[in-house]
């Protein structure tokens, strides 16, 4: 009994998988290209989903548009440029590197670099007093002489 229910439940769940792929492609390469692109493009309406995941009307439109462009033989860059031209950099999860996005790309590396410098400098500073203390322990020639005279004077007394 339990087994039967499980099988029915699984069968019901699998309809999810069937409903997604209704678009047809000439080649398998095109299908892969479509999957990559729809996962890289962000839905403008439901902002935390890509257009492959979203069922918003705009996401369906954009999926169809990507499908059309792929069938017409456009490459990935052309599809991305088409979308960015209309919906802005917002629509791509991986924005292009240009004057408006360099901060986004280089910012984290720069901040990490800054962090290393700060750690390095503080670590050096901390070590310095210790080395200075070591210097204090070592007496210069003059000081040694002085010390010797003091000690010898003490002996005399």
């Amino acid at each position: 009994m339990m087994k039967k229910i499980l099988i029915i439940l699984l069968a019901l769940m699998s309809t999810n998988a069937f409903s997604i792929d209704t678009l047809e492609f000439d080649t398998n390469a095109q299908r892969v290209q479509f999957q990559v692109l729809t996962e890289e493009l962000r839905c403008p309406k439901c902002q935390n989903q890509n257009i492959a995941d979203s069922n918003a009307p705009i996401a369906i439109d954009l999926r169809n548009e990507v499908h059309r462009m792929i069938l017409e033989g456009n490459n990935e860059d052309q599809v991305i440029d088409f979308m960015v031209e209309r919906y802005g950099d917002f629509v791509v999860y991986k924005p292009k590197f240009d004057t408006s996005t360099y901060l986004l790309w280089l910012g984290p590396a720069f901040i990490a670099f800054l962090g290393f410098i700060i750690v390095f400098v503080t670590a050096r500073k901390k070590r310095q007093p210790a080395s200075r203390a070591a210097n204090v322990n070592e007496l210069s020639q003059e000081e040694k002489k002085k010390l010797n005279t003091i000690l010898s004077e003490k002996e005399k007394v």
Partner: protein, 178 residues
């Protein structure tokens, strides 16, 4: 100098706090249009009222106007409708409709029932012009200058506040630019 340096983390924290607090007020669902300062994309689509009449981007030039994206399936468009009537009739700013992915009959009925604020309506059944403009939901209202260039986009309902604070000053500014 050393003492002043001790305040540096505090200053950085305050600066980050200010930026984040400022960010709280931003609505992330309102995107700036990628078409700002671009001409309205070329199109050739029928008028809503007269299927035999073809409209193009040339019909939007001449005067600063609002291009309002609407549809009968969009509840917020109904909320917005009275304000569009007010803008068209009281403030004398031409409002051009972009009837987006809609049913022609239903749209015509809507305009009969709720009154028609539009100078004319572009019937974009497939959403092609919408896609070219970067429309991602209705209602959206674009301010188009007299040369047919997209100058501003407002996403969401246009109401008194939006008109007074956002749209009216811009319409005036673009009109003065000629």
């Amino acid at each position: 100098m050393k003492r002043a340096l001790l305040f540096l983390p505090l200053l950085v924290a305050v600066a980050i706090g200010v930026v984040l607090f400022w960010g709280l007020g931003n609505d992330p669902t309102k995107l700036e249009s990628a078409r700002i300062n671009d001409p309205v994309p070329a199109f050739s689509l029928p008028s809503l009222q007269d299927p035999t009449k073809l409209l193009s981007q040339e019909d939007i030039k001449g005067k600063v106007s609002l291009l309002n994206v609407w549809a009968t399936w969009c509840p917020s468009c109904r909320v917005e409708h009275p304000y569009l009537l007010k803008i068209a009739k009281e403030y004398n700013v031409p409002v051009i409709g972009l009837n987006y992915k809609d049913d022609r009959q239903a749209a015509k009925q809507w305009l009969i029932k709720l009154d028609d604020p539009y100078l004319f309506n572009i019937f974009d059944e497939k959403g092609r012009l919408g896609l070219d403009l970067g429309v991602y939901g209705a209602p959206e209202t674009y301010i188009i200058d007299s040369k047919g260039v997209v100058r501003y986009r407002h996403v969401g309902v246009v109401d008194d506040r939006v008109w007074k604070i956002i749209i009216e000053p811009r319409v005036k500014q673009y009109t003065n630019e000629g």
